[in-house]
């Protein structure tokens, strides 16, 4: 069935676009056979519109409503039970994934520490006894032995003698050494003799940290 042949149906049932309708009406003026077909279809369809709705019997209407509502009531406990199961499942999944995440974090920390050890089988320990509080941060080291940090995470660093240090640079410096550094830094400064040259001198003045 071509689209063209179906146009008479869409026309009589008023389901045509306005532009399509205009074009079809132009065709109707020029084609008598098409006009007869459309008029015949229109008459039959008008007769069909005389069809009256058939009402369901009153008792059926009531029976349907009552049966349907009873079935819905039966469904209710099942549905609420279903929601309970869904909520319980959600809680269990949440708890399980929480535990899993916690475990994986712990495992990750251990792995990180372990991997740091793997790359350096021979480790020289620099733990100056003179530094108070150092033992809190320093690490017990022996080849291949596990590394345990007591308090916080320490970034290893290498000093000028290529020795790996496992304590915080800043914390290991006691007050006395800090004072000495401070004192020496002032000694590097020279007094200004000619104030007129101060600007140019200031321009070249660089304050740098002293060596430990």
């Amino acid at each position: 069935m071509s689209k063209k042949e179906n146009q008479s149906i869409t026309y009589i049932y008023d389901e045509m676009d306005p532009s399509e309708k205009l074009e079809f009406e132009r065709d109707l003026e020029n084609d008598n056979n098409l006009l007869i077909e459309v008029e015949t279809f229109r008459k039959i369809s008008e007769r069909l519109f005389e069809l009256k709705a058939v009402q369901p019997p009153e008792e059926l209407y009531e029976a349907v409503l009552n049966k349907a509502f009873m079935m819905r009531q039966k469904q209710k406990p099942y549905q609420s039970g279903r929601y309970m199961f869904a909520a319980a499942a959600l809680v269990i999944i949440g708890l399980t994934s929480g535990l899993f995440l916690m475990n994986s974090n712990e495992a990750g920390t251990e792995n990180e520490t372990g991997s740091a050890m793997l790359g350096t089988p021979e480790i020289v320990v620099n733990s100056p006894v003179a530094v108070p509080g150092l033992m809190d941060y320093a690490t017990t080291v022996s080849s291949g032995a596990p590394l345990h940090t007591e308090t916080s995470r320490i970034e290893p660093w290498v000093d000028e003698n290529d020795v790996i240090n496992f304590y915080d640079r800043f914390r290991t410096t006691n007050n006395a050494s800090l004072d000495s550094m401070f004192h020496h830094s002032f000694q590097k400064l020279t007094p200004v003799t000619d104030p007129s040259q101060s600007i140019s001198i200031q321009r070249h003045l660089h304050l740098t940290g002293g060596r430990r």
């Binding site: 049932y13 005389e50 369901p56 349907a68």
Partner: protein
């Protein structure tokens, strides 16, 4: 809560749109909302089933089956985006077509010669005037005559005619409901009108000859 016919449906329900009533029923289990929905659409749904089956008892069963499914599946399968009644009509249509197909299968199985009744399949076919006598009495003459002709149309054509005329469903929706292209739906309507015209002409000729 059991509702009776005396239950009064508040006026504001009558002003509500289908989707609002559906929402009330789904979320608050408001049975008056469902009753209002049924009041609005039951005649069209029943007419469609009855015109397709043309038997009161079977139509009653299918109507009941349809609304039982509607009420039990509303929470799971109906999404509030589409028209509620289009969804109901789909259920009614599927139930009706299922019944017709079962009947056809039954007829195929028993189409051989029956030794007991000494009749063959064609003799056991129901009368052409398939609407029962008591159904005829309930319907007015023109409706029962029209239904008789519509009942003689092939199932596919009958479906399109009934959905368009009883339910005023656009052809696009009919095509979706019956899983065919819009062109096929329009073609079925065209053939249905051609066939009905022949039937009306024959009927007219019969009436003329009887005079």
């Amino acid at each position: 809560m059991r509702l009776t016919n005396n239950d009064h449906i508040p006026q504001n329900y009558e002003k509500m749109e289908d989707r609002e009533l559906v929402h009330l029923f789904r979320k608050k289990d408001d049975q008056l909302a469902f009753r209002e929905l049924m009041n609005r659409h039951q005649a069209k749904v029943y007419s469609y089933i009855f015109s397709m089956i043309q038997n009161r008892e079977i139509a009653n069963d299918i109507f009941q089956e349809t609304f039982t499914k509607v009420i039990t599946k509303m929470d799971d399968t109906y999404n509030e985006q589409g028209k509620w009644i289009a969804w109901v009509m789909r259920i009614a249509h599927n139930a009706t077509i299922d019944h017709i197909r079962k009947q056809k299968r039954f007829v195929d199985v028993t189409s051989s010669y029956d030794d007991e009744s000494k009749t063959d399949f064609y003799e056991r076919l129901p009368d052409e005037d398939s609407i029962g006598q008591h159904e005829k009495l309930e319907l007015d003459e023109s409706t029962s005559s029209l239904l008789k002709h519509i009942g003689n149309l092939p199932e596919e054509q009958r479906t399109v005619v009934m959905l368009r005329h009883y339910y005023e469903m656009p052809f696009k929706e009919i095509a979706e409901l019956t899983n065919v292209s819009i062109n096929t739906a329009l073609g079925r309507m065209r053939y249905a009108l051609i066939n009905l015209r022949k039937m009306f002409d024959e009927e007219h000729e019969k009436e003329q000859s009887n005079l």
